[in-house]
C-alpha cells in the first residue's frame, strides 16, 4: 500500500498546484466575462457542501466517474488507450436495463446483483472486441473503440425503442423494484438525494484495481505488457491474450458505471440523442489521477465536485455553464500539462535556494 501512495504523492504537489492554477485561470476568464469569480467559487462550495441533499447528489455525480476513470486507467496501465469507455458505459446501461425489466420473479438480493453483473459483463465483452481486433489483427484500439461508441449508442437506442419502450415516452419502462440499488433509508435521510450501492461498489472496484494490478500474477503480466510488450513477450507472456484481458476488465469497469447509473439513479433508460459523456469524462479523471486507483478516487471527487458545483456557480453567481466548462477544462489542462506547472513553480524553488523567500 505504501509504495502506491508514494508513487502518487510524488506528483501530488504538482496536482494541487495545477488545480490552483486552473482555478486562477478560471477566475480570470470569469472576470473578463464580467462575473464575480470569488462569489462563483463560494457558490460552488456551498452547492456541494451546503446541505445533505446536495452532498448526496455530489456523491451520485462522482460515482460513475470513479468507475469510468478506473476503466481508462486499467487499460492505460496495460499500454492501451481505451477511448471506448463511453460505448462500454452505454452497453452496461442497456444490459442492466434489460435484466432489470425483463428478468422477473427474483428477490432483490439476486436480481440487483444480477443486473449489475450483466452490465459489467456486457461492457467487458464490448471492450474485448477492441482488444481482440488489436491482438489478432493489429487494428489500432483508438479507431475501433471510437467506432464501437457509435454502434453502442444506436444499438442501445434500438433496443430501448423496440423492446423496452414505455408507451408514449422516449424512454424504457421502469426497472423492477427488485433490481433497484437505491439505498432508500439513506436517501430519505438525505432529503431524497439519489444514494445507491454503486457508490460502495466504486470504492471496492478501486481497491480491487490496486490489488489486482500490483499483487497478483495476472496484474504483473498486464503491467509488464503495458510497460514493455517486447520484454513481456521475451519472458514468455502471451501479449495478445493480455491485451484482450486488459480490455475486458477495463470494459467491465465502464459497464458497471453504466449499470449503477440505471439501477441506482435513473431506474429507466432514455432514447439518447447523443452520448452521455461519462465515459469520456473518465479519460480526464484517469489523467488527473495519474492512472493510479487512489489518484482516480481523488480525481473523480474533484471532477464530480466541479461538475455538480457548476450548477451552484450558475445559480449563485450567474456564470453560464459554458464558462464553467472552461474552468474545469483549464484545471485538467494544467494537470495534463505538468511540464507547464513545473515550469511555473521553478522560480519559487530557485529563489528559495538563495533564501529570499520564506
Amino acid at each position: 500500500m505504501n509504495k502506491i501512495f508514494k508513487i502518487f504523492s510524488g506528483s501530488a504537489t504538482v496536482s494541487i498546484i495545477a488545480i490552483i492554477l486552473g482555478l486562477i485561470v478560471g477566475a480570470i476568464v470569469m472576470l473578463v466575462g464580467g462575473y464575480n469569480p470569488l462569489l462563483a467559487y463560494q457558490s460552488l462550495f456551498t452547492q456541494v457542501f451546503g446541505n445533505t441533499y446536495d452532498f448526496g447528489e455530489t456523491l451520485r455525480e462522482i460515482t460513475p466517474l470513479v468507475l469510468t476513470g478506473l476503466a481508462f486507467a486499467f487499460a492505460a496501465r496495460t499500454g492501451l488507450f481505451n477511448i471506448g469507455g463511453e460505448g462500454q458505459f452505454i452497453v452496461g446501461m442497456t444490459a442492466a436495463t434489460v435484466v432489470g425489466i425483463k428478468v422477473t420473479g427474483l428477490p432483490a438480493i439476486i436480481h440487483a446483483p444480477l443486473a449489475i453483473i450483466a452490465g459489467g459483463l456486457c461492457g467487458g465483452l464490448w471492450a474485448a472486441i477492441v482488444g481482440y481486433l488489436k491482438a489478432k489483427r493489429g487494428v489500432n484500439e483508438v479507431i475501433t473503440s471510437i467506432m464501437l461508441n457509435w454502434i453502442a449508442l444506436y444499438l442501445a437506442n434500438y433496443i430501448v425503442r423496440h423492446f423496452l419502450l414505455m408507451q408514449g415516452k422516449q424512454r424504457s419502462e421502469d426497472i423492477l423494484p427488485t433490481a433497484s440499488i437505491t439505498i432508500q433509508s439513506l436517501s430519505d435521510l438525505m432529503n431524497s438525494a439519489r444514494i445507491h450501492w454503486g457508490m460502495l461498489l466504486a470504492v471496492l472496484v478501486a481497491v480491487f484495481f490496486y490489488y489486482f494490478m500490483w499483487k497478483t500474477k495476472q496484474g504483473y503480466e498486464l503491467r509488464a505488457v503495458g510497460s514493455n510488450p517486447n520484454a513481456a513477450q521475451y519472458a514468455g507472456m502471451n501479449v495478445g491474450r493480455n491485451i484482450v484481458k486488459a480490455m475486458f476488465i477495463s470494459g467491465v469497469f465502464a459497464g458497471l458505471a453504466g449499470a449503477v447509473q440505471i439501477l441506482g439513479v435513473f431506474h429507466n433508460q432514455t432514447v439518447m440523442s447523443g452520448s452521455p459523456g461519462t465515459g469520456f469524462d473518465g479519460i480526464a479523471v484517469g489523467l488527473i489521477g495519474m492512472n493510479n486507483p487512489f489518484g482516480i478516487l481523488l480525481g473523480a471527487i474533484l471532477f464530480g465536485t466541479l461538475t455538480y458545483g457548476s450548477a451552484g456557480m450558475s445559480f449563485g453567481a450567474g456564470v453560464p455553464p459554458e464558462l464553467i466548462r472552461i474552468v474545469i477544462g483549464s484545471i485538467i489542462f494544467f494537470i495534463a500539462a505538468q511540464g507547464i506547472v513545473r515550469w511555473f513553480i521553478k522560480p519559487f524553488y530557485s529563489k528559495r535556494k538563495k533564501e529570499k523567500v520564506l
Binding site: 500474477k217 495476472q218 514493455n228 520484454a231 514468455g236
Partner: protein, 512 residues
C-alpha cells in the same frame, strides 16, 4: 595563434546531482589538431562533462575557456556558435529525410520563401569531399548504413562550422571495417585543423588513434598522459583502479553431446524476405560456440527463431533432442533455454519495474513467487537480493527501478537472472556491448563458468576480440548461412574478417 593556448580549457569543473558528484573539479586542455581521448568506465562522468561543454548542463563550479577566452555555454546553440560540435552515440536523424534535409534541419537556408536545397547540397558535397566522407547529399537516411549515418552526423557539425568535435562512443555501433574508416576520417579532420575529444572505454581505439588520454574515475581526473607513453594495461588499471587481465583465463573445453541442433533453418524477416537460408549449427554441452558475423546477416532473426519470438519458415531446431521450432517462448524457456538479449532495454528488462520485479520476469508464475494467483513479494525480494548479491549488481535497493541503473549493472542483473534459471543452453547476444572493461571481464568469466558447469553457450557478438578470446569454436554467419567454422587458436582478425565479408570457408584462406 600561440601554440600554448589550448582551444578548449576546462578549469575545475564540478557538477553535482542529488546524491552524487558527477564531476569533481575536472580540468582538461585540448590543443589544436589534437585527438584527446576521455577514458573512463560507464558512470565515471565522461558524458556529464561533455554535456557541460555542449551546453546541456551548467557546471556548479569551474569555468570553460575557448581559445583563452572565458565563456558561459548555457545552451547547445551557444556551443555551436563557439564552434563546438557533438556526434552523439545515438544519432539524432530523421529517417525519411535526405542527408541534406537532415543537415540543414533547424537552420534551413531560405531563398525567398523556399528552402534553398541546392546551395546546401553543394556545400555538403564540398565538405564531404574535403574530409573524405563520401556522403551522397540526396540519399535518404533509412537507405544508408549505420556508418554512413554517423558520417552525416559528423557532416552536420562541420556544416555548422564546428572546429571542436566531440565524439561520444562513436564505435559502439560500427563494424570493424567501419571503425577503420572512422579512424581515417578522424585523422583527416585533425590534419585539416580540427580538434577532437573522443569519449570511449575501448583501449584499443585509444592506443590506435589518440594523442593524449585523460582518465576519469568516479568523477575525478586520475591522470592525463601522452598516448605514446602509455600501454593498454596501464590505462586499464588507471581506469578501473585495479589490475585487469586482458587474456581470458580458461581451461580447455570438454564438449559433450549436442544440446542445440539446428538443421536447414529458413526464417523470414519483418519485411518477409528470407534472411536465414538453410542454416545448420550445433552447440554442444560444455562449449562456447562463438557466432561471428557483420550485423544484418541474420543474427537477430536467428536469435528470435531460437527463442520463439519469430516464426520458423522451414527447418528444425532441436533442444535436448526435442523439436522446439515454432513453440511459444515460454515452452522454449521451460525446455531449458536462457537468453541474454542483444537489446537489454527492448527485451531484457521492463525499465519501469523495480529490480525485484525484473528478477522474476520469466518465473513469476511459478512457486514460490506465485501463490494462488497472488504474488509473494517476500519470496521475490529474497530472490532478487540473492541475485544482486551474488552477481554484484550495484543498486541502491531491490525496489529501485531498472531504469535508474547503469548499463553495466542492468546487464549484470539480466545475466544473473538468466544464469540462475540453470539452463541447458545459454544464448548470449552481444553480452558486453556498451560495457566497460571491468564489467566485460565479469560477463565473460560468467559465460566461461557456465561452460565449465557443462552448459552449452551460444555467443553472438560483433566484437571479434571477444569471439576469439571467449569461444571454444567459432562459426561465421554470412547472408543467413554458416560459411565456415574455425578454432580460435588457429585464426586471426584478418581471416575472420574475410570470412565475415563472404569469402569462402577455411581452406580458402590458409593460416601458416
Amino acid at each position: 595563434m600561440n601554440e600554448a593556448t589550448p582551444v578548449v580549457e576546462l578549469k575545475g569543473i564540478t557538477k553535482r546531482f542529488p546524491g552524487v558528484v558527477a564531476n569533481d573539479s575536472i580540468s582538461l586542455k585540448l590543443y589544436k589538431g589534437e585527438i584527446h581521448a576521455l577514458l573512463g568506465e560507464n558512470g565515471a562522468g565522461k558524458s556529464t562533462l561533455m554535456n557541460i561543454v555542449f551546453g546541456l548542463y551548467q557546471p556548479d563550479e569551474g569555468s570553460i575557456e575557448i581559445n583563452g577566452t572565458p565563456v558561459t555555454i548555457d545552451n547547445p546553440n551557444k556551443a555551436i556558435d563557439l564552434g563546438i560540435g557533438m556526434v552523439h552515440q545515438h544519432f539524432k536523424l530523421v529517417d525519411p529525410f535526405t542527408v541534406t534535409e537532415n543537415i540543414i534541419l533547424g537552420m534551413e537556408p531560405k531563398k525567398g520563401l523556399n528552402l534553398d536545397h541546392k546551395t546546401a547540397a553543394a556545400r555538403i558535397s564540398e565538405l564531404s569531399e574535403q574530409y573524405g566522407l563520401r556522403v551522397d547529399p540526396y540519399a535518404k537516411i533509412h537507405d544508408i548504413s549505420v556508418g554512413m549515418q554517423q558520417r552525416v552526423e559528423i557532416l552536420k557539425t562541420l556544416y555548422r562550422g564546428a572546429d571542436i568535435l566531440i565524439f561520444d562512443e562513436p564505435t559502439a555501433v560500427l563494424t570493424p571495417q567501419e571503425i577503420t574508416e572512422l579512424m581515417e576520417i578522424m585523422r583527416r579532420l585533425v590534419a585539416e585543423g580540427k580538434s577532437i575529444i573522443l569519449i570511449t572505454h575501448k583501449l584499443k581505439e585509444i592506443m590506435h588513434i589518440s594523442d593524449t588520454v585523460t582518465i576519469i574515475r568516479r568523477g575525478k581526473v586520475i591522470d592525463t598522459v601522452k598516448t605514446s607513453e602509455a600501454s593498454p594495461s596501464i590505462l586499464a588499471e588507471k581506469m578501473v583502479g585495479r589490475n585487469v587481465s586482458f587474456t581470458v583465463d580458461k581451461r580447455p573445453a570438454t564438449p559433450g553431446k549436442p544440446v542445440l541442433e539446428i538443421r536447414d533453418l529458413f526464417v523470414k524477416n519483418k519485411e518477409g524476405a528470407l534472411v536465414l537460408n538453410g542454416l545448420n549449427l550445433d552447440v554442444k554441452a560444455g562449449e562456447i560456440l562463438g557466432l561471428a558475423g557483420v550485423d544484418g546477416n541474420g543474427q537477430s532473426e536467428l536469435i528470435e527463431a531460437l527463442t520463439g519470438l519469430r516464426k520458423v519458415d522451414r527447418g528444425s531446431i532441436r533442444l535436448n533432442g526435442k523439436e522446439v521450432a515454432n513453440l511459444s517462448p515460454r515452452q522454449i524457456i521451460e525446455g531449458g533455454l536462457s537468453h541474454i538479449p542483444e537489446d537489454r532495454h527492448k527485451h531484457g528488462l521492463v525499465l519501469d519495474f523495480s529490480m525485484s520485479e525484473n528478477m522474476v520476469l520469466e518465473t513469476y508464475y511459478k512457486a514460490p513467487y506465485n501463490k494462488n494467483g497472488f504474488l509473494n513479494y517476500d519470496a521475490i525480494k529474497k530472490q532478487a537480493e540473492k541475485l544482486i548479491e551474488n552477481f554484484d549488481v550495484r543498486t541502491p535497493s531491490v525496489e529501485t527501478k531498472a531504469r535508474s541503473l547503469s548499463g553495466g549493472n542492468q546487464q549484470k542483473a539480466i545475466i544473473a537472472r538468466e544464469i540462475d534459471k540453470n539452463p541447458d543452453i545459454l544464448i548470449a547476444a552481444q553480452p558486453t556491448r556498451g560495457l566497460d572493461v571491468g564489467a566485460i571481464e565479469f560477463v565473460q568469466s560468467q559465460l566461461i563458468a557456465q561452460r565449465d558447469q557443462g552448459k552449452a553457450v551460444l555467443l553472438i557478438s560483433f566484437e571479434l576480440d571477444e569471439i576469439i578470446n571467449v569461444s571454444d569454436r567459432i562459426a561465421v554467419l554470412y547472408e543467413g548461412q554458416i560459411v565456415g567454422e574455425v578454432l580460435p587458436e588457429q585464426t586471426n582478425d584478418q581471416e575472420l574478417g574475410l570470412m565475415m565479408a563472404g569469402s569462402t570457408a577455411p581452406g580458402g584462406v590458409k593460416h601458416e
